[in-house]
Amino acid sequence: MTKKDLLGAFETLTPDRETKKKMLLALEEKASKPAARRLPFWGGAVVVAVAFLLLWIVVPKGDWFVPKAGTEMVQSPEALQEEADVVSAPRADATSAPTESEEETKMGATPASAEEPAEKQTITNEYAEGEFWIMEIEGVEDLDALIYLIPEDAVLIGSGDTFLKYKVGEEIWEIKIEDGLTRLIKPLDE
């Protein structure tokens, strides 16, 4: 093979006029269009993150988790503790009161409608004093826990750190702590 053969071979590869024109037209068309905006690198990461989030929300597990996570973020530790108390109370009732069906417990039986007092509370003394009947109770940590002593139709008309005042029909009932002793004071039955 000579150099002439080689050059001749390369020459056969030269594009014809039509091909060159076609390529030039395509190039001019491309040049006339605005350059395509490419997504920056971090843009891709954002798209992936959003897609992941959507998927997390859409799939059942994510759907279950996201609202709960939101609630947990809003509630304070104290509120969570209160919630735990409310949840655990009916269970305690269910075990301590065998006559109450599980269904009733599920329907929202609370200590207010419970028939029995909590274990620690004991009525140590009951007596009449003037026109009032007084019950002395020990082991009371929370006045609200004594609500089982109040009739269901009672209406709370006053409350404080050391007292709760109810209106029962025409009567006024009061639970209060005095000198470290908890008393339920109600009008003496005639």
């Binding site: 093979m1 150099k3 050059l7 001749g8 071979a9 390369f10 056969t12 590869l13 390529m23 030039l24």
Partner: protein, 154 residues
């Protein structure tokens, strides 16, 4: 920077170079177009026409290498299937057939040295490759082509 002028100045060189790499007129057209499209987004001016040409050659070479990689992945065909494919438009030439037996880097080197008239040192500088590597590559290519050429690439 007038794209049309640059295009008309270098289109033949770039197209032949792409053909050397891709062995196919359609792919060579695509690669040539892509090379000049790269030129559209280039903002820095060229120092000279030679700089312009060298930039286009390097750009086209890189594009062709990428296309070959892509081609390998996407267009692998069974030998049996190839038998029924229509003949390519590539001009049938014994010399070209011999050239195409060389590896793509050697084909490119032979083209740049013998047709475009580049010196080995210039190609080495353009590609950032050792001169001696290119010399031995060219010697092997010449051996394959049984090329009776004088040592005029110095």
């Amino acid at each position: 920077m007038n794209i049309e002028e640059i295009y008309l100045r270098h289109v033949d060189t770039i197209y032949r170079l792409c053909h050397m790499y891709l062995k196919n007129p359609d792919d060579a057209q695509d690669a040539t177009q892509s090379t000049f499209e790269k030129l559209l987004v280039r903002k820095e001016p060229f120092e000279s026409t030679e700089h312009e040409k060298a930039w286009l050659i390097v750009c086209a070479s890189n594009l062709c290498k990428n296309m070959l990689k892509h081609w390998y992945r996407s267009k692998r065909t069974d030998v049996e299937e190839m038998a029924v494919l229509p003949a390519k438009e590539t001009p049938h030439d014994e010399t070209l057939a011999l050239l195409y037996e060389l590896d793509e880097e050697s084909r490119r080197l032979v083209y740049l040295v013998y047709y475009e008239g580049y010196r080995i040192t210039e190609v080495a500088k353009m590609d950032g490759v050792n001169e001696s590597t290119l010399r031995s590559r060219l010697a092997r290519a010449r051996e394959h082509l049984k090329l009776a050429l004088e040592e005029d690439e110095e």
